[in-house]
Symmetry: C2
Subunit: 199 residues, 2 copies
């Protein structure tokens, strides 16, 4: 896998070293390693698909940019911004997609609409998902460091059918949340109804 070291100037003027430094400053070490593995898996999934590899790389590197921000800052941004205020009942696991897109734009100067949308959707998905959205959603679920029952099956499905992998990831994520009595964000159900139940 060739790592992308320079992106088109319309996407970002940062070099790879500069971007990684900025990201590393925002998230813990374990998460930074995860981000690099998501990039690797996402580029692997993107092979032979009609998708911009530079965007794949940038979304992967930036997708968890906001995940280690203090709750107070996230809450303040959700209250101040044009967000679904229901989101406040949930936690960082939900917030970091939508708010992350805002922060990546503001602080990293990356403004490509497709990139920001894929960051927004990467945890909860959506009924409409672009190829880029699906690649990140599935790469985040199947990157090499993931280790849970079913991950190997998810990887095999992802290698042959991205839509089926979106379905698999969504179904199994929901099952895990319910098994452990965790709250479920309504948009996750929308994703389930489209990709699993094929409503």
């Amino acid at each position: 896998m060739t790592v992308i070291t320079k992106w088109s100037s319309e996407l970002t003027t940062l070099s790879r070293v500069e971007l990684l430094e900025k990201i590393r400053a925002q998230i813990n070490e374990r998460r930074f390693a995860h981000v690099l593995r998501v990039e690797e898996k996402a580029l692997e999934l993107a092979q032979d698909k009609n998708v911009n590899l530079e965007k794949v790389s940038l979304v992967a590197l930036c997708h968890d940019y906001a995940k280690d921000r203090p709750d107070e800052e996230m809450i303040a941004r959700i209250k101040a911004g044009d967000y679904d205020q229901e989101m406040l009942k949930f936690g960082s696991a939900i917030w970091h997609g939508d708010v992350g897109a805002e922060l990546v734009s503001e602080e990293l100067g990356i403004n490509d609409a497709e990139i920001l949308n894929a960051i927004r959707l990467h945890t909860v998905g959506a009924s409409e998902m672009s190829l880029l959205d699906k690649i990140i959603y599935v790469a985040d679920y199947t990157e090499a460091g993931r280790d849970f029952p079913g991950v190997e099956e998810a990887r095999q499905i992802a290698a042959v059918d991205l839509d089926e992998a979106v379905s698999f990831a969504t179904k199994h994520t929901l099952q895990h949340l319910i098994e452990t009595n965790q709250k479920i964000y309504p948009k996750t159900l929308t994703t389930y109804n489209r990709w699993v139940a094929k409503l």
Copy 2:
């Protein structure tokens, strides 16, 4: 268990025989037997609780009144009425609660708001549920004819803690729907988030 044979005239002027005849004319035999078992279980759950037993009986008998109506009639009513039009993407399993309340009012002349609300909620539940709502929701899940893995546990929980039984029924219903890739009505998730995840 004493069966209620006469209801207060503010609730209905129909005798038990008259009401059962009208219900029997609307639903198949198997479902009619289910309805009688729901009444029995609901009255059992209502024992020693601060709830109007006449209403318990009426809701139980009327809760599936609309379940065997032709889809075309249900769809026409949903389109013409003040319903969430998203409901059209679902089926009779979802429609018969809301539309059933309308039909019970129109055709049986039962207009008590608490009774109609319990009919509305009996399949999908809600974040706010009255004692009457909960009794019907749980009785429908645990009546003596039900036979699925976990039903005995559900009955035992229902006998001691109605809220826990609402939670159990909601969780297991969702798990079954997901296991079989069936679509999930958003209000069911609202019920889950309140009663299972305690959002």
